[in-house]
């Protein structure tokens, strides 16, 4: 039986080169290249790896964003995904992670109803927001189990065996499908988009077109999308300033320890 896999992806600014506007505290996006979020690439690669391994796998990629985000959906198809959907609508603008996951979940439900779904992959987090919330929130909306920080994955008949990274070790988790997994970069090395598929996917009238869905295509009330559907309120964005310089204590170990005790006593810490 065909394994149905969905991968959520996001277009992000290449924050390796990003600068912060000191006055507004926001990212300067001008002139910064947009890329497919690195850990979303790992998520997609894992789906493609399963396809290489099992063969009978159908991979849908789903993204939400403005029209120009279609580039990453096409890139995913050029890497080997079978179907690409971009959710793009003015009503989606300004969505926080909760509204975003609500919109994505609504689209995923539609895909699931049409064709069924066994596995949903997300990247651990996007390099622009760094929240790591959207993946687990989707699972919450869809009432699915979630396994985050996936470092290794084995799939066998209706279940996954996962090595899940934690700060000082690993969990080995077994879970029946359907399940949502979030990928970390240790999971795999993503492949490059294939030249032939680039020409089939990009350009005018491509052989492998992507689909664009609007708010009309999903069954989610407008008040749950965009700014209206976003409970998060950003009060202030600021660059933390360094309040004081550290102090280096010098001398032999005994001398330094003695000085440290004096300093700590001065500050009434001990």
């Amino acid at each position: 039986m065909k394994l149905k896999v969905l991968v959520c992806i996001k277009q992000v600014p290449d924050t390796n080169n990003v600068k912060i506007d000191k006055e507004t505290g926001t990212l300067i996006r001008k002139g910064i290249k947009s890329i497919l979020n690195p850990e979303d690439k790992n998520a997609l690669e894992e789906a493609l790896r399963l396809k290489d391994e099992i063969g009978d796998v159908f991979i849908t990629v789903l993204s939400m964003g403005p029209n120009q985000a279609s580039v990453v959906v096409k890139e995913a198809i050029a890497m080997g995904a079978d179907r690409g959907i971009l959710l793009s609508d003015r009503n989606f603008a300004g969505s926080d992670t909760w509204a975003t996951s609500a919109i994505l979940s609504s689209a995923i439900n539609k895909i699931k109803e049409e064709d069924g779904l066994d596995l949903i992959f997300c990247g651990r987090q996007a390099i622009d927001g760094d929240t790591a919330q959207v993946g687990p929130q989707i699972a919450q909306h869809l009432k699915l189990p979630v396994i985050s920080y996936v470092e290794e994955l084995k799939y066998s008949e209706n279940k996954v065996l996962v090595k899940r990274a934690i700060e000082d070790g690993h969990y080995i988790v077994e879970c029946p499908t359907p399940v949502l997994l979030t990928a970390v970069k240790q999971l795999n090395t993503p492949r490059y988009p294939n030249m032939k598929r680039i020409f089939e996917t990009f350009g005018e009238n491509p052989e492998r077109p992507i689909e664009t869905w609007t708010a009309e295509d999903i069954s989610l009330a407008k008040e749950n999308m965009g700014l209206n559907g976003s409970p998060t309120r950003v009060k202030k964005i600021f660059t933390p300033s360094r309040k004081f310089e550290g102090e280096f204590l010098q001398g032999n170990l005994k001398e330094v320890a003695r000085q440290l005790i004096v300093r700590l006593k001065e500050r009434q810490i001990i």
């Binding site: 050029a78 490059y192 032939k196």
Partner: protein, 383 residues
């Protein structure tokens, strides 16, 4: 001339750039030093689909533009010129003449194999006594019943000992000079085929350049590419397209040296300032950048003509001539900007300078390019 990149070409450029940075650049110094043919990179390039980039989909190609292919050569060359040779020799010099002159069986067997990234082939024209004067072929092919017997040797052949088959030029009729040359597709495992000396070279050291020796090598009649006597024409047309590849390669080498230089002059501090803040250094950079852009202009001009089906032989020679000499100049200045460090193998610019030299020599020396350009420019007046 509008050569703004299409969405597809931009994507090809960005993917090959990333590939070059991650897969090619990191081993460039090692394969240069040890002269190791990078089989793993060849396989990765095949998987990526680079060998089929400008070729029709019906043979398994990507159906991409010529420009997309030359962009790929340029991007690879920024990090490692050797690697771009390993792409260009099969993809351009071997695949193109088979596509253009091969019969359906040859196209299915050899052209498709290269395009789909399953096999790699080379091109064998040069001989010890037939370099620039490539019509002086000493290799002979004699028809005996249902096969040809080939005798002779070829030198400076890219992929010797590595590639699996070659398009080989040989004399079938010595009395006809250039019109007596024919082209053959020869499997490297044919009895009588052997690999001679592998050259120890100044640059592009990992590309396996060497001698091919044919001793009473029997090849089936079906190995003839095109018709008897068409070999010289096939070779010259193949080189026309190949020359654009060399122009792209030289451009890439120069751009790579430029990137290294711009980085270095901003980091290197002398007299309390980064050396890039001195006008004397900035002038070098300005001149290098201008020459690079001029070479890019010539390259785009010839690609535009090729894509439009306009004759481009003269323009290909101009682009190759200018771009290769520019690359020598730019890489020389890149070493100068790096000072003593540039003279060491701790920085890539000395390798780039060594690699640049071959672009003035192969697929026609600078002098040959001038002959071609002059012959198209000095048109005899009608009597």
């Amino acid at each position: 001339m509008d050569l703004s990149l299409t969405e597809q070409e931009k994507m090809v450029q960005s993917v090959v750039r990333e590939f070059a940075e991650k897969e090619v650049g990191p081993i460039a110094a090692e394969i240069d030093k040890t002269e190791r043919f990078p089989t793993e990179t060849l396989k990765k390039m095949q998987k990526l689909g680079l060998y089929g980039l400008p070729y029709p989909k019906e043979y398994g190609g990507a159906g991409g533009s010529d420009l997309s292919y030359y962009l790929a050569i340029e991007e690879l060359s920024k990090k490692c010129a050797t690697t771009s040779v390993i792409l260009a020799a099969p993809a351009s010099l071997c695949a193109w003449p088979i596509m253009k002159y091969g019969n359906e069986d040859q196209k299915e067997k050899y052209f498709r194999a290269i395009v789909e990234g399953k096999r790699v082939g080379g091109f064998a024209l040069t001989e010890p006594g037939a370099g620039t004067d490539s019509a002086m072929q000493q290799t002979t092919a004699t028809l005996e019943g249902d096969h040809y017997v080939i005798n002779g040797s070829k030198c400076f052949i890219t992929g010797a000992g590595q590639f699996e088959f070659f398009v080989v030029m040989a004399m079938t009729d010595k009395t006809q000079r250039t019109r007596g040359i024919s082209a053959f597709i020869v499997e490297a495992n044919t009895p009588g085929f052997s690999v001679g000396k592998i050259e120890d070279k100044l640059g592009i050291r990992a590309s396996a350049t060497g001698e091919l020796i044919f001793e009473d090598m029997k090849v089936p009649k079906e190995c003839l590419l095109g018709k008897e006597g068409e070999g010289f024409k096939i070779a010259m047309q193949t080189l026309d397209g190949g020359r654009i590849g060399i122009a792209a390669q030289a451009l890439g080498i120069a751009e790579g040296a430029m990137e290294e230089s711009v980085k270095y002059i901003q980091e290197r501090v002398q007299f309390g300032k980064p050396i890039g803040s001195f006008q004397g250094i900035q002038w070098y950079i300005a001149e290098m950048e201008t020459k690079i852009n001029a070479a890019r202009g010539l390259m785009y001009d010839v690609i535009y003509k090729k894509q439009k089906g306009i004759p481009f032989s003269k323009e290909a020679s101009m682009a190759k001539l200018f771009s290769s000499e520019m690359a020598m100049w730019v890489t020389d200045k890149a070493i100068q900007l790096h000072g003593g460090y540039g003279f060491t193998k701790d920085y890539p610019v000395e390798r780039m300078h060594r690699d640049a030299k071959i672009t003035e020599i192969y697929e026609g020396t600078s002098e040959v390019q001038k002959m071609v350009i002059a012959s198209h420019t000095i048109v005899p007046k009608n009597k």
